[in-house]
């Protein structure tokens, strides 16, 4: 018995398969016959079933809470609709899902730039929904969305200047935010905003900053484009 001679491992024997089975197994891995209680050994693997159950259960708690709150609120809103004729449950829906998305963004393991862009999209959507469902005063499209866009663009710009190694990465996210800011034009065309200066200032500032970074990036961005086009 070349393994037992080392004195480290202990074995059981499965007579039907004619193999020795490590003590970490309660059943024979080949025929699943019960051989005795499992003991800890050097070759032991993690117990996946308990890990999976634990993770799945914990993972679903926040979503369950959000859905629970929303179902209750929608129900109460439907029952009491005649009294005020206000669909306030949409505000609860937007608020709870915004909190849920922010929790996911913060807790999930993802790139920092991606977290910024997702937070920007979540906050903008949340404020626009609140605005449209609470009187349509268009403060979200006139002020909130343009200012959030400008703040995000400035933050990403400062990050890309401060951290030159990550320049190309942040520049990609900057392009994404600039593209999203173009949606302001749609809100203006669809009469979803009162003034034109806010959306246009945010678009203009995004484009100018992006262009400026591209022109002053020297070789970095061109090298990145070469790689993207597999020319390097």
């Amino acid at each position: 018995m070349f393994i037992q001679m080392t004195g480290v491992m202990q074995m059981k024997k499965c007579e039907s398969c004619n193999v020795f089975v490590y003590d970490s197994e309660s059943n024979c891995p080949l025929c699943h016959k019960f051989l005795g209680e499992a003991k800890s050994t050097a070759v032991e693997y993690p117990s996946y079933n308990s890990i999976i159950k634990e993770q799945t259960a914990l993972k679903n708690i926040p979503l369950f809470l959000v859905l629970f709150i929303n179902i209750i609120c929608i129900f109460i809103n439907m029952v009491t609709y005649d009294k005020g004729e206000v669909i306030w449950s949409i505000i609860v829906f937007a608020s709870t899902f915004y909190i849920y998305f922010m929790y996911k963004i913060v807790s999930e393991n993802m790139r920092y730039g991606k977290k910024i862009v997702l937070s920007y999209i979540s906050l903008s959507s949340f404020l626009i929904i609140i605005d449209l469902t609470s009187g349509k005063l268009f403060w979200s499209t006139d002020y909130a969305f343009p200012f959030i866009t400008m703040a995000t663009v400035l933050y990403l710009t400062s990050l890309s200047i401060r951290n030159k190694q990550m320049f190309t990465e942040y520049f990609g996210f900057l392009l994404t935010v600039t593209s999203i800011s173009l949606l302001s034009i749609i809100s203006f065309l669809l009469d979803l905003s009162n003034s034109s200066w806010g959306p246009f200032v945010s678009i203009l500032s995004s484009i100018i900053i992006t262009l400026g970074l591209y022109l002053f990036s020297e070789k970095t961005l061109k090298e990145e484009l070469k790689k993207r086009f597999n020319r390097k």
């Binding site: 050994t41 032991e44 993802m110």
Partner: protein
């Protein structure tokens, strides 16, 4: 300090080489939930792993293996390697072996260093390296871990020392096969192989069954029968698949064993990137086939197929294909649609199972008292849901089956046949993936 060295190494590599080699180009396109293209090598030590010392060991080998600490990005025509500035950390092993590496969960890295009790595992996406490359990495990692935890030991030239960046990330496929004349390129066509089918686990993951046999006893048998260990295991595998799956069915397709071949032994190369070929050993089994006849056929086939001229022709074919002007200029998005179809018909349907023998793994003498044994695991694929990898350390020859289906009959039959032939004792253990009610 280590982080700075690591970044410096990665930048050097990126300046030298951002392109993927011919094998590496294929894997991202054919990867799916059923085909992770992630393989694992593990070292089982005699004592529990201390993650603190393991992290220090990783920090020390960052620069030497900076080729592995990268991220893969999508280009317009092909994927490419890029710098990864995120700090790499070791993590606890909580998933089943060879599952897809989710880059967003792994800071963009396509390599994982895991620990659990006495086992250190390295999982890598096949685009960055092959079995030979990752074993060099594991050997260095364990060597430094032992040095840090128990005191410095002599490496005896058995651990990879610092080679130049050029040699490390050399694209040996292109170097050796780009200029091969077209007339030497082999056009192969073979009929479909017998395929193993079975019910997949409810929860996606892989079951691993490891069997340990004595290397000396196996060698004794091989010497008496004038064959290699690989010949013996291929023949045993064919018999096992026939007895457990094909016998009594109408399917008469040959049982084909795909065997990866390390090309470094045939073509001079020190690369840590992919440099392997695959040969298919097949046999049309009948009830009357005896083991000796099968073993002789396997010996002849393997000897012929792993010749330098044969591997030169087959490898050159792949290089010429990937460098074809038409193929190169198809956008990646379309390649990702086309390559899985080609892979399914040209590779997946032509083999029953993959059996990889990575050979004997040697550590410095002073490190040996700390190491129990080494394991190598291959990922199962959609059409080949059971795969097998073999390695040996000291007198322990470890045969590891990785399977994504509940059926265990092929593995059971393999060990039964091996036991009957070599009469050597077999020691088995598993990761027990799957619920109790879906094990059979």
């Amino acid at each position: 300090m280590c982080y700075i060295l690591f970044v410096k190494g990665v930048v050097l590599i990126m300046e030298k080489q951002a392109k993927l080699d011919v094998a590496a180009k294929l894997f991202p396109s054919v990867t799916s939930k059923k085909n992770s293209a992630v393989f694992r090598v593990s070292a089982v030590l005699k004592e529990n792993i201390d993650p603190y010392y393991l992290q220090i060991a990783v920090n020390l080998i960052y620069e030497k293996f900076s080729l592995f600490f990268i991220r893969m990005r999508r280009g317009v025509f092909w994927n490419y390697f890029d710098k990864n500035y995120m700090h790499f950390t070791v993590s606890k092993d909580i998933k089943s072996p060879c599952e897809n590496i989710l880059t967003y969960e792994n800071k963009g890295y396509i390599i994982k260093i895991l620990y659990y009790k006495n086992r250190v595992s390295v999982e890598a996406f096949h685009s960055i390296t092959d079995g030979s490359g990752i074993l060099e990495f594991l050997k260095s990692l364990i060597y430094y871990y032992i040095c840090i935890k128990y005191g410095t030991i002599a490496h005896q030239g058995k651990i990879l020392l610092y080679d130049s960046i050029d040699e490390q990330c050399d694209d040996s496929f292109t170097k050796h096969f780009r200029d091969v004349e077209k007339k030497l390129i082999k056009k192969t066509s073979s009929k479909s192989a017998f395929l193993i089918k079975g019910k997949r686990y409810k929860k996606r993951g892989n079951c691993v069954i490891n069997g340990i046999v004595s290397l000396q006893e196996t060698k004794k048998y091989c010497k008496a029968n004038e064959c290699t260990i690989t010949d013996l295991f291929i023949a045993t595998m064919i018999i096992a698949i026939y007895n457990s799956k094909q016998k009594g069915t109408r399917n008469k397709n040959p049982i084909v064993i795909a065997v990866p071949v390390n090309l470094r032994g045939l073509f001079p190369s020190k690369t840590l990137r992919n440099f392997f070929g695959v040969v298919n050993i097949g046999y049309e089994m009948t009830d009357d086939t005896d083991f000796k006849t099968l073993l002789t056929s396997v010996k002849i086939q393997l000897k012929t197929l792993i010749s330098q001229s044969n591997l030169l022709g087959s490898s050159a074919k792949n290089v010429h294909f990937s460098e074809n002007i038409f193929i190169t200029h198809i956008p990646l998005i379309f390649k990702n649609l086309m390559l899985p179809i080609g892979y399914k018909f040209a590779s997946e349907r032509k083999k029953t199972i993959t059996l990889s023998n990575v050979g004997k793994i040697d550590f410095p003498d002073e490190a040996k008292p700390y190491i129990e044994h080494i394991e190598v695991m291959l990922y199962p694929t959609a059409k080949s849901p059971i795969n097998c990898a073999i390695c040996s350390y000291e007198d322990k020859l470890v045969v590891s089956f990785t399977k994504s289906i509940t059926d265990v009959s092929v593995v059971r039959e393999f060990f039964k046949v091996l036991n009957n032939i070599t009469k050597s004792e077999i020691y088995v253990y598993s990761n027990d993936w799957g619920d109790a009610n879906e094990k059979m």
